[in-house]
């Protein structure tokens, strides 16, 4: 094809392009074309003069480029470069993994989520999803044994793990600048945080190893408004937990929502994971046989009653809302099959660059019965009691938003959240 093209060109008038190729001695010119040009240069002084100009131009450009010319990389250079590629292939994969974990923790930060008014109705489902992610990426429980590959997790208490925002940069900005009721700022991630494309890439990479399925569809809102407390009770199967005390300025018209029963599953593809572990002598982390390990979360239905919030409000109206909401949901159960969970906890803990205090908190928690709530150091945390049940209050330091969490003896998780400081929200919680 190229020869045909050159032969065709050989019959054309000799232009600068052909002269340049002649000058360069490039094989793009056929022998015939080269001979024709050589003959023409002898016969046509103007053409020879043109070649001289082109040669001078090329020499001048070469001279300009000379400072950018380097010796060809020798074998040692290539070896170093190759080793660095190897290193980057390993460390950047690791960095991706750590970034993903951090992203998941950011997603799980309950107070971050519930600061967004429109998501009140979905808190129960989000909690379940968060637990799946927690199990999949920072698996919990120290009660697992090497002979017991099935584990049921049912939290009966809360525990807070503090994330230092300087070590988790993607939490910065989200937490510091979040305005209660504001529309989530989907396009304004903090500097250094992965872009949506990065996250998509990471998730594609992760999908080789872990698959997620959930009854919470993509873009589908699992919560739904209902007309009354009675309707919410009928849907959830228990009384709606409604507060009797409302802070000053909060409209006393309740709105009811129901988050229906949800399930979420994570399937770990052991056949994909195993070779990687075997390669590095860590095969004992997962069973020697079996194709998959599974994590199944069952999140009972939740009721939500809110005062003062209009979940459909937008813009300034949403920003200026003052309100509270109380969420009640049955304790989720999580079943883990086919994993050496303790081994994975240890692996996660041993990851380089994981903040040591975070690892210490993760290891010290009674993870089997504890719902882990990551919070940032931009929030205050206080333990107490609500009507005899142990509670945890997490507040923004400026008092603009607080959440109180407690679990009653019937294993119902309660969350009271509002645009007020901690003591005020504890008073709301105590009245529920």
């Amino acid at each position: 094809m190229m020869d045909e093209q050159m032969n065709e060109r050989a019959m054309q008038p000799i232009d600068d392009g052909m002269l340049r190729a002649y000058l360069d001695g490039d094989p793009v010119l056929s022998d015939g074309a080269r001979g024709r040009i050589a003959a023409a240069l002898v016969e046509q002084p103007a053409l020879a003069e043109r070649l001289t100009v082109l040669r001078a131009d090329a020499t001048a450009v070469d001279a300009i480029f000379a400072p950018l010319t380097m010796p060809e990389p020798d074998a040692a250079h290539r070896e170093r470069a190759y080793r660095r590629i190897q290193t980057r292939l390993t460390t950047e994969r690791h960095a991706s993994f750590v970034t993903t974990i951090k992203e998941k923790f950011a997603d799980m930060t309950t107070i971050n989520r519930i600061a967004r008014v429109r998501r009140f109705a979905f808190a129960g489902s989000l909690g379940a999803l968060a637990v799946v992610l927690l199990l999949a990426f920072a698996p919990v429980t120290d009660a697992f044994t090497s002979v017991l590959n099935t584990f049921r997790y049912q939290p009966t208490q809360f525990a807070v793990i503090t994330l230092n925002t300087s070590q988790f940069p993607q939490l910065q900005g989200n937490m510091a600048k979040e305005t209660p009721g504001a529309k989530p700022a989907t396009g304004s991630k903090p500097a250094g945080s992965p872009t949506a494309q990065d996250q998509q890439k990471l998730m594609q990479e992760l999908s080789k190893y872990v698959s997620f399925t959930s009854s919470i569809g993509q873009g589908q809102l699992p919560g739904r408004p209902v007309k009354s407390a009675a309707e919410a009770k009928a849907a959830v199967g228990r009384d709606v937990t409604a507060p009797k005390y409302l802070p000053p300025g909060v409209a006393n018209t309740p709105q009811f929502f129901v988050s229906d029963h949800q399930t979420a599953d994570a399937t770990l593809h052991l056949n994909e994971i195993r070779p990687a572990l075997t390669q590095v002598g860590m095969a004992s982390l997962i069973p020697a046989t079996g194709d998959t390990a599974t994590v199944h979360v069952d999140a009972p239905a939740a009721s939500i009653v809110s005062y003062g919030f209009n979940p459909t409000a937008q813009g300034g109206t949403a920003k200026n809302q003052q309100g509270i909401a109380v969420i009640a949901m049955g304790s989720p159960t999580i079943d883990v099959n086919g994993l050496d969970v303790q081994g994975i906890v240890n692996t996660i803990s041993a990851l380089p660059n994981m903040p040591p205090e975070f690892v210490a908190q993760l290891k010290s928690a009674d993870l089997q019965h504890t719902l882990i709530i990551p919070v940032t150091d931009q929030q205050t945390v206080k333990n107490g009691t609500i009507n005899g049940a142990r509670s945890t209050t997490i507040s923004q330091k400026d008092g603009s938003m607080s959440v109180v969490l407690w679990i009653t003896s019937d294993n119902v998780l309660h969350i009271a959240v509002g645009t007020f400081d901690g003591p005020t929200m504890e008073k709301v919680a105590a009245s529920a």
């Binding site: 190229m2 093209q5 050159m6 060109r9 232009d15 600068d16 392009g17 340049r20 190729a21 360069d24 490039d26 094989p27 793009v28 131009d57 001048a60 450009v61 300009i64 480029f65 400072p67 950018l68 010319t69 380097m70 060809e72 990389p73 020798d74 290539r78 170093r80 470069a81 190759y82 080793r83 660095r84 590629i85 190897q86 290193t87 980057r88 292939l89 390993t90 994969r93 690791h94 960095a95 991706s96 993994f97 993903t100 974990i101 990479e205 992760l206 080789k208 190893y209 770990l268 994909e272 994971i273 990687a276 572990l277 390669q279 590095v280 002598g281 982390l285 041993a350 990851l351 380089p352």
Partner: protein, 203 residues
């Protein structure tokens, strides 16, 4: 879970298992990663030194091969020209993007790993400063040129054949000479204009 691979691999860099791990994603349709690396690294590095200079060229050459590792071209095993063209195109794009943003250079200067490359250490700080200034001038002219012209010029300066240039840029081999002549003329014109401007500003 991909991170487990990475974490576990950290203690075993450079051994046979690591090499095998590098090759795995490109198995099947393409030559082994090692083969491609050995065959094309010097040319990719040469292209990038002419675009960004030696300080950044190594990083960007690695980035080029990482991209080949992660998202290789969909070509047959024997289509080696296509692999080269793909690598040169990626390298050229990375190089000019790097010049535009300069982020990579800033990051690189902060990285300790630069010390691993004695080849790139200046032997004479004064002459190195002059070279840097010259490089910066060339780069500033190149980055403002039309994409095709600067790619052809850079690839030719890096020693690519007309066929390789044609494949990388996506033009007919017979058009490379003409494009190159025009690119060189434009480059010289702009380079001399900028140089004169700088000289005028300096006096």
């Amino acid at each position: 879970m991909g991170g487990i691979v990475a974490v576990a691999g950290e203690g075993k860099r450079g051994d046979v298992q690591q090499v095998a791990m590098i090759e795995r994603p490109v198995a099947g349709q393409l030559p082994p990663f090692d083969t491609v690396f050995q065959r094309y690294y010097h040319r990719v590095f040469a292209i990038l030194t002419r675009i960004v200079g030696p300080d950044e060229a190594d990083d960007l050459a690695q980035e080029t091969f990482l991209r080949f590792h992660d998202r290789p071209p969909l070509r047959r095993t024997d289509d080696e020209d296509a692999i080269g063209a793909w690598l040169y195109r990626v390298a050229t794009n990375l190089g000019f993007n790097a010049i535009r943003t300069r982020k990579r250079r800033t990051a690189r200067e902060e990285r300790v790993t630069r010390a691993e490359l004695p080849l790139q250490r200046p032997l004479d700080p004064e002459s190195e400063a002059v070279r840097r200034e010259e490089r910066a001038l060339v780069q500033s002219v190149l980055v403002e040129m039309p994409d095709r012209a600067r790619a052809v010029l850079t690839l030719r300066q890096a020693g690519c054949s007309y066929a390789e240039i044609a494949a990388a840029v996506g033009i007919a081999p017979g058009s490379v000479g003409t494009t190159l002549v025009r690119a060189e003329a434009l480059f010289r014109q702009r380079y001399e204009a900028v140089r004169s401007q700088k000289a005028g500003a300096g006096t």
